[in-house]
């Protein structure tokens, strides 16, 4: 009974099927390998043609000055050396990292909290779970448009409700009034949309923890917080690794929420790295530079995930 949640972990080795077929084990293994390859080939084809090929092209583009319709000229490493000096990129990098840390912390805490709430078998837990998961059924672009309306001054209830309670006075713009409120709007949107999904992942990890461990702890007189710290958290390590991977990657690549809700404002305070990438490619029409930023971003993501997974895996019991 082991959990297999870390992407890199292979399914546990099983003994080869009983040699009842009378064929040599070596030949059988090779046949199985070939069969496996055959089944994996559609995936391999899609990945190779629609992912690796474009990525290769992007890498190639990052070494050139690449006009939209003209001939590209080789200019490496100019696109890369220009990146540190680019104010917009630096500002966006600072913001994106800060946002990632904030978002990850909030989402993990909320997801774990919700999972603990929903884990118990009480009345109404099904209803709660549905309520938390329902936002997942709405596409992210749709959710962003929803929040755009909800936080608006024209038809949104938020300003009206807070005004009725006397907390705000007159006109307030949540998505572009101040850096804080703009970031907060985006954070609330993302938490609303993804807390349920993350909760589900944590839930599955929680359910893998044998209940007799909790029994033993209770008999030993451990309080709820101690149980959580000494038993739940360590056993959730692999689940949390997955959650962290998804959240960190998603936050570093954040785009939709800022594009639709805040447009990077006010005053570039919520401009994310992918927004800068988009601007370079489609507004400044500098495809080579955009490609360079993409490559750097990809490398950072790979590095972060490798480090993070390694650190969490290394400490398994």
């Amino acid at each position: 009974m082991s959990t297999t949640l870390i992407p890199i972990a292979a399914p546990a080795d099983r003994p080869p099927p009983r040699p009842g077929s009378g064929r040599r084990p070596g030949g059988l293994r090779r046949r199985r390998a070939l069969t496996g390859l055959a089944y994996a080939s559609p995936t391999a084809a899609l990945v190779a043609v629609f992912f690796l090929l474009p990525i290769g092209l992007v890498g190639w583009m990052s070494l050139h000055r690449w006009p939209l319709l003209g001939q590209p000229e080789f200019n490496a490493p100019a696109n890369y050396t220009a990146v540190p000096g680019d104010d917009l990129v630096r500002g966006a990098a600072r913001f994106t990292v800060a946002y990632t840390v904030l978002m990850t912390a909030i989402l993990v805490v909320v997801a774990v909290g919700l999972a603990l709430l929903v884990q118990q078998r009480r009345r109404g837990v099904g209803f709660f779970r549905t309520a938390f998961l329902l936002p997942m059924a709405v596409g992210f672009a749709t959710a962003s448009l929803l929040f755009l309306g909800m936080l608006s001054d024209e038809i949104g209830p938020v300003t009206r409700a807070l005004a009725a309670l006397g907390i705000v006075d007159g006109y307030v713009s949540w998505t572009s009034g101040s850096a804080t409120s703009a970031s907060a709007s985006a954070v609330v949107l993302v938490v609303w949309r993804f807390a349920g999904f993350t909760m589900l992942i944590v839930l599955t990890g929680l359910q893998a923890i044998p209940t007799d461990l909790y029994e033993a702890a209770r008999l030993d007189g451990a309080g709820p917080w101690q149980t959580f710290r000494r038993i739940t958290l360590p056993l959730l390590r692999r689940t949390l690794a997955l959650v962290l991977t998804l959240t960190i990657t998603g936050s570093l690549l954040a785009f939709d929420q800022f594009w639709i809700l805040t447009r990077g404002g006010p005053d570039n305070s919520t401009t994310s790295l992918v927004m800068v990438l988009y601007r370079k490619a489609f507004i400044e029409l500098d495809l080579g530079s955009a490609a360079a930023v993409s490559v750097l971003l990809l490398l950072v993501l790979v590095a972060v995930n490798v480090v993070q997974l390694g650190a969490l895996r290394g400490r398994s019991r």
Binding site: G36, L46, V47, L253
Partner: protein
Amino acid sequence: MTGTQTTARRGYAVTGSALAILFLFPLLWSGWASVRTDTGFGLENYDRLFASANGIRPRHVLNSVTVSALTVGGTLLVSTLGGYAFGRFRFPGREVLFLLTLAILMVPYATILIALYVLLGWLGLADSLVGLSVVLVMFQLPFAVFMMRNSFAAVPAELEESAQLDGCGSLATLARVMLPAVRPGLVTVGLFAFVTSWSEFFAPLILLNSTDKFTTTLAVVNMRTASHGSIDYAALEAGVVVMAAPCLLLFAVMQRSYVRGFTTGAVKG
């Protein structure tokens, strides 16, 4: 003891309900706002959404349905075969391919969209719903293959072996024995693929050219700034409801399988 138990239970109920209301509120509000007009309530926002010159047409809905169906079908096919391979076979390059598939998560749209556009052109799939679906399937692969791999890996070895003893080849084993066993995983993957492809915005924008191929999402976002750059919020919320409704419905119907897909898929034993 009973006193604290009741307070604990009540505290639980209150917290849970409060959170549930908070989570449900935006969806409920959006439905309410979409039927709210200057003079009270009515369906005129939906009217504007569908009847205005750049509103949604039945064509758009049909396109969305087509793209979603193709994406779900394609995703299920590729991820089932792939998950089967990764979960139950050993072959050279398995780890590498799996990691590469997951790496798709780490690349934003803006990066490879132009390259994909060119690629689809070479393959004769430019400005086509099929080409768009193929791209969307690719973006679904990380989650789908991961889920299916874990689902397949969680199937007890005995099931597979007994099928083999009965003389089934791998395909028959897959069809007769494995598929039913991983059904919750399939539901999860299918649902996820549907929700994402139904409300996908950026990929259809770039990869589709003709208005009659547009999906519902594109039409709704077009409404966002149609009147000389000003937003029609009420029609926008009506659009949000139209886009969210099918997904919510499907989700409500399949919820149990969806949750089970996670619990049985991610955990073995």
